[in-house]
């Protein structure tokens, strides 16, 4: 009897604890703000100064703070002269690093190791500075969801439904690529229609080369979308390297004549490249002193 009571108490504690965390997680919306995969070297890997003909390691820590998984990623080191520093392998890949979610609220952390070999200094040289780039490329996605009001009959003063916002701004959806603004344009009358203009911007540290539209729905129905200024494949856009923003235009005919509230959902995938600049110093062990 006593054991039964203990088991029940423990079970109750476990259940209450789990229920409490689930509820807390549900309250927390990961898909907000600008977050991304954090990339860094572990302390002393590589060391700040390397002596000639020695081995060292690069340990790259990938900490996904975005709300979405990073997939098909690769980490590489470029820009080192192989005469001074050889890196084996030059790149390492990863399949998936999970983003922050109910199951992984802190995000997934991943480590990659690359081995380095220092060469010899040029005769008489005191040191050599090898500047290099740590490049991380991966694919990811971003989802945008909001509740919107649609009012096809703008001039109906007796419609006491919702109030439509012609323009609304957003801080981000938990990824570097963000919907920053949505404009709503209603075409009233018999053939009424709604047009949404999604302003997309890369607000992260890296660069986005292309964006693919995976899906756009108003309520449960598909929106007809195209990226502004695009011909051909209207659901795919390549961003300019310097101007990392674009506009997605989505339209849909309206059947209802009265105002109503519904959900607007957008699903985008993109590639992402983060570039970090680092320096390795190959230093001679000999100290020289000359007369002036």
């Amino acid at each position: 009897m006593r054991y039964l009571v203990i088991v029940m108490i423990l079970g109750s504690l476990l259940l209450s604890g789990c229920a409490g965390s689930d509820e807390k997680a549900l309250q927390y919306n990961f898909k907000q703000g600008i977050t991304e995969l954090d990339i860094s070297f572990l302390e002393n890997a590589p060391p700040r100064e390397i002596y000639p003909e020695s081995e060292f390691k690069f340990v790259v820590q990938l900490d996904n703070q975005a709300a979405y998984d990073a997939t098909d990623g690769v980490v590489k080191i470029i820009g080192l002269d192989e005469r001074y520093f050889q890196v084996v392998p030059l790149e390492e890949g990863f399949d998936q690093i999970m983003g922050r979610s109910l199951t992984t609220p802190a995000g997934e952390r991943h480590f990659l190791e690359l081995r380095g070999y220092a060469g010899r200094l040029l005769e008489g040289a005191a040191y050599y500075d090898g500047h290099f780039f740590l490049i991380t490329k991966y694919n990811s996605k971003v989802e945008f969801t909001d509740t919107v009001c649609i009012n096809p009959n703008l001039y109906e003063v007796y419609d006491a439904g919702c109030t439509q916002e012609s323009q609304k701004s957003y801080r981000g959806q938990g990824a570097p690529l963000a919907v920053t603004k949505v404009e709503t344009i209603i075409t009233p009358g018999g053939g009424s229609a709604v047009e949404y203009r999604f302003h997309l911007r890369n607000s992260g540290q890296g660069a986005i080369r292309f964006i693919n539209l995976q899906g756009a729905k108003l309520g449960g129905e598909q929106l007809f979308c195209k990226f502004q200024g695009k011909q051909g494949d209207e659901r795919h856009v390549e961003l300019d390297a310097e101007k990392q923003e674009t506009v997605l235009i989505c339209k849909k005919p309206l059947r209802d004549v009265n105002s109503y509230t519904t959900t607007l959902h957008l699903d985008l995938s993109y590639d992402y490249e983060v570039r970090q600049e680092h320096t390795l110093t190959l230093k001679s062990g000999e100290q020289t002193r000359l007369f002036s």
Binding site: K76, G79, L122, E123, G124, A126, Y127, Y128, L290, F291
Partner: protein, 620 residues
């Protein structure tokens, strides 16, 4: 006064006085009127013997000048041909002559910097402008006719000098004439300015005015320069007793002036080249750019003639120069910044004055310290020698280094003392020359390039500026040479200084060697650029030797020598189209022999042989 004149003369004078009064009434302007001159003449005539009256009439004197008188009473002919008008002009003083001098020097400067070779129009413009301004300036000056003649001679000298140079054959006799013609051609207007300046000084002096201090100093300077160039032997003796620093100072001036002449010889002022090339390339079969090629060819020929003595050397020089010459720059390698140094140090105990007895064989010795910094720890040998020279142009009499005269260098710092034993010399002042020769020195330069291959616009926009700023900041797009005596600079790219290599086409490779050590390059036996896997149109770009002209008193050694320029035809496979970009460092090496000199003035004095024997009294 009237009693000493004849009746006829008195009537003549009265008529002239009357005429002069009328003239004074008409012209109340300042200056010397006929009336005043006549009054002065009458006064002078009254004081003179009667027999010289007619001579006095033909040689009127002005009140403004006092000319020396001949025994006959006739005044000396004036250089300035004075008149009342000239007296007014003389009031200008030396101002116009300073301007003329400035114009002459300006002409020389313009010739040096805006060469005739490069621009035919500018050459004509410089000549016309100079002649025009000279003419404007001399119009208001005394002795206009004489000065005008000098001006015409200057114009002719420049035109003829330049013209004749093109037609003189190259024989052993002709170079002397060519040198004179080059000199006239280069300095024609500067000399004309000086000549006018001297004439002006004489005119002002004759007018009874004093010359200013600056003018006086300038004249003295011209005289000194005249001696310096035309009678150097007269100046040699006093020089021998001057301090070394004075000699060096004068040598520096000499070098500056000689450098100007050398530049002229090497082609900067080839006035006739554009004309000759214009004619020779005016045929219908001449290709596009033939005119430029012709000009370049002539400049190369002159450069090689000016720098090399033998036909073989000149031919090799021309071959090297005909390959495209590109000035390649470089920077000091910050990772190898410790300079290589070698210096002779004269101690305070150095016997600047030595004494020897004329009747015995006294050995005079002179010690010197050689200090070498070898930060890159090369292994090499230094050969030290010494010689004595009397005067600036005297023959060098070799001395003897007591002991080995060599020093092996391996460490970072090395010091050694060498003692020079003088050969039997006469009493006098000498310049003791110590030479340290460093054979087979090596210097390695490095150059970084980033190979990107064929990339799209997105990649280029994203990366090229970043690569430049990260990998090539601080001048790292240029080759980096250690602080050695001689530096090798090299580069390749499209253009040369672009460190981003996109594709094979249009990549040029070139290099140069720069002497920064303060000494002279004796030889440059080998240069090599390590570009593994590269395919070039001419392999002499990658490896070879350079002909280095030895310096002489008239020809200082150039500071920079050029390596051939080539075109890269094919990049190594791994650099042609990398997936991202590849940074690669390349090395170039030179092997050279170098000479460091140190000149020390010494004085050798003969003394009588005296034996100081103490006497018995003194001892007691």
């Amino acid at each position: 006064m009237a009693e000493t004149l004849s009746k006829e003369e008195q009537d003549t004078l009265k008529r002239r006085l009357l005429k002069a009064r009328k003239e004074r009434e008409r012209n109340a302007a300042t200056g010397f009127t006929q009336f005043e001159r006549t009054v002065a003449e009458v006064q002078q005539r009254a004081a003179e013997p009667h027999s010289s009256a007619s001579a006095a009439r033909t040689q009127p004197a002005t009140t403004t000048e006092r000319r020396p008188q001949l025994a006959s009473g006739r005044s000396l002919p004036s250089f300035s041909g004075v008149s009342s008008q000239t007296a007014e002009r003389e009031a200008l003083g030396m101002g116009p002559y300073w301007i003329l001098l400035g114009l002459g020097l300006l002409n020389f400067f313009l010739k040096m910097n805006f060469s005739f070779y490069q621009d035919q129009i500018s050459s004509v413009a410089i000549l016309v402008a100079t002649a025009f301004f000279f003419w404007i300036m001399i119009r208001g000056l005394p002795n206009y006719r004489i000065k005008e003649s000098v001006l015409l001679i200057a114009i002719m000298a420049e035109l003829l000098g330049g013209g004749l140079l093109g037609f003189l054959p190259d024989t052993s006799l002709i170079p002397f004439i060519k040198d004179i013609l080059f000199g006239v051609h280069a300095y024609a207007w500067a000399l004309t300015g000086v000549l006018f300046f001297v004439m002006g000084a004489i005119e002002v002096k004759e007018a009874g005015r004093k010359l200013g201090l600056i003018t006086g100093l300038a004249l003295l300077g011209f005289v000194a320069l005249g001696f310096f160039f035309f009678a150097p032997s007269l100046l040699l003796a006093p020089w021998d007793y001057q301090q070394q620093s004075h000699q060096e100072y004068l040598a520096a001036i000499e070098q500056q002036l000689e450098a100007g002449t050398k530049q002229v010889k090497e082609g900067a002022l080839a006035f006739y080249d554009p004309l000759l090339c214009r004619f020779s390339t005016s045929t219908s079969t001449a290709t596009l750019g033939a005119y430029d090629d012709c000009l370049k060819s002539k400049k190369i020929t002159r450069f090689c003639k000016a720098n090399f003595e033998t036909v073989g050397e000149r031919t090799k020089c021309e071959e090297e120069q005909r390959k495209t010459v590109v000035a390649v720059r470089g920077i000091d390698d910050p990772t190898r910044s410790q300079p290589m140094k070698a210096e002779f140090i004269v101690s305070e105990f150095f016997p600047k004055e030595s004494y020897f007895t004329a009747d015995s064989e006294t050995t005079l010795t002179f010690p010197i310290q050689l200090k070498i910094a070898n930060p890159r720890q090369q292994s090499f040998t230094v050969d030290v020698s010494c010689a004595f020279r009397q005067g600036t142009y005297g023959e060098e009499i070799p001395g003897k280094i007591i002991g080995a005269g060599q020093m092996e260098i391996e460490g970072i710092e090395t010091e050694g003392v060498f003692v020079c034993e003088a050969p039997p010399l006469e009493e006098g002042s000498y310049t003791l020359i110590f030479k340290a020769e460093f054979p087979h020195l090596l210097s390695v330069s490095r150059l970084q390039r980033a190979f990107i291959g064929e990339k799209d616009l997105f990649w280029k926009r994203q990366w090229i500026d970043t690569i430049r700023s990260e990998q090539f900041s601080g001048g790292a797009h240029l080759s980096q040479a250690p602080a050695d005596f001689v530096k090798l600079h090299f580069a390749f790219g499209s253009p040369l200084e672009n460190p981003i290599i996109e594709r094979t086409s249009g990549i040029v490779l070139s290099g140069s060697v720069e002497n920064t050590g303060g000494g002279e390059i004796k030889s440059l036996s080998h240069y090599a650029l390590d570009l593994p896997g590269f395919s070039l149109n001419d392999l002499t770009c990658l490896e070879g030797s350079l002909l280095i002209p030895a310096p002489s008193k008239s020809k200082p050694q150039p500071k920079r020598f050029y390596l051939p320029t080539c075109v890269v035809e094919q990049l190594p496979a791994d650099l042609e189209d990398p997936s991202d970009y590849v940074l690669r460092e390349f090395f170039g090496e030179i092997e050279y022999s170098y000479i460091i000199r140190k000149e020390v003035p010494v004085s050798l004095q003969a003394v009588a042989f005296v034996v100081d024997v103490p006497t018995g009294e003194a001892r007691s």
